[in-house]
Amino acid sequence: MNPSPFWNPKVESLTRPELDALQVAKLRRAVRHAVERSPFHRRKLEAAGVTGECIRSLADLRRIPFTTREEWMSCQASTPLFGDLLAHPREKAIRYHLTSGTSGKNPLRVLDSRRDWQWIAECWAVGFWGFGVRPADTVFFAFSYGSFIGFWGAHYACEKIGALTLASGNMPTDMRVRQILEMGVTTVCATPTYALRLAQSAAEQGLDIKGSAVNKVIVSGEPAGSIPETKRLIEEAWGAKVADTAGMTELGTICMFECSHQPGGMHIIEDHFLEEVLDPETGMPVAYGERGERVVTSFGREMIPVLRYRTRDLVERVPAARCGCGRVYDIYAGGILGRVDDMLLIRGTNVYPRAIESIVRSHPEIDEFQIVVAKANDIDEITLRVELKPGTADGWPALEKQLHFDLKEAHEMLRFNVERAADGSLPRFELKARRVVDQRKKS
């Protein structure tokens, strides 16, 4: 077995100045490719007076204009189906996928070339190898393999690593659990929400998933994978270590991963991405440890170059030394901390769904939850609806009181309504969970 803890020891072991120099060289090539091949980027870069040759240091990155989702959508709307972003004719593509539309907007359409597909799998392989996936592993994907990119790239990464790779497609949850046990699966990949659902299904079927061969659960698709309380619940339910990963459909792959040292955050794959953390209002860089918006530039995307893309994800970047693994890659402490636009403003108080989830998951008797925001007599009201696990109803009065207290204390004494929902009444999710129902938007 290959003893290297790093998928790419040459690059993952570079010094910071060497990595910076590599990023400059890769950025120059990425800009050159975009100018030569993509009409969308050529137009913008020419207007800004930027060519590949202008890129001589990382500071030159700031000469490149931002790309926004709105621009991408508008470009696709004016020139269906793909806009003029493509750097190669459609015939060169081998894959098509769509964004999940989490933000409620029109989905973006993405094409991948052969080279893109290799690169997509490669980025996942960096992360999976870093968390300890090896050829001897049996990896199970609790994923439906539709046009949403999800774990597609991870599946190919596992084949690339040489692991036995199981695709569960449209298999129902109970059958997935049985196959995990029957096949001696060592690594399960799912959203954090669905990892909990699988464990719950095992319990309902009287199956011992904690005593199974599963020793790694790799999650993606929701910020919950880096919420300590949620992570602990998954680890306890499975008797396995949990690693978070995060990416985006626009890129087709992950940009960050948690290594086997579990440093309380995710390493940025910095030889494939150039990540900035900026003040979302001013667009100016923030310092290490300060919260800001991720802005990403891809070095590997061929069909659709991605330059300075405003992700709207909130992160706090810290130096690589925070982790003991020895990689040069910096870390996003706590993973994706939320989105610039997912903050709820309730009677003058900022409320982040992630903070609520953190409180909810510290009570293991809660099975599922939903956050409902509505107007009552022109006043914003926020209600946490919770569904309890079987056999825990007796503790409800005390739990209700505790939730009221915890939520209020974490939100500048803002009053939350807390309701118990009927068993099985709240929606369950396999892909990205949508637990916030903002009824104010309808009115």
């Binding site: 790419n8 040459k10 690059v11 060497e18 120099a21 590599l22 060289a25 890769k26 090539r29 060169k92 070339s113 052969r114 080279r115 597909w117 290799q118 690169w119 490669e122 030889d271 590997g300 061929e302």
Partner: protein, 66 residues
């Protein structure tokens, strides 16, 4: 000819030089116009892989024959 230094200006090691040679030969093969479909598509697929390996190691190479 493939540039035998990586993007940091370091000379290719023996292993890297071998990889770059394989990549260059595949690129040459894939550019031929008389290939049967099984070889044309297979060599393009292989090129995507060797491009990826070279790129991982910090070498700037062409990724496709077409």
């Amino acid at each position: 000819m493939t540039e035998m230094k990586d993007m940091l200006g370091r000379p290719a090691t023996a292993m890297e030089a071998e990889l770059l040679d394989v990549h260059a030969r595949l690129l040459h093969l894939a550019q031929r116009t008389d290939l049967p479909p099984c070889v044309a598509s297979g060599s393009e697929a292989a090129l995507a892989l060797t491009w990826q390996m070279a790129n991982d190691l910090g070498f700037a190479v062409d990724g496709s024959a077409r």
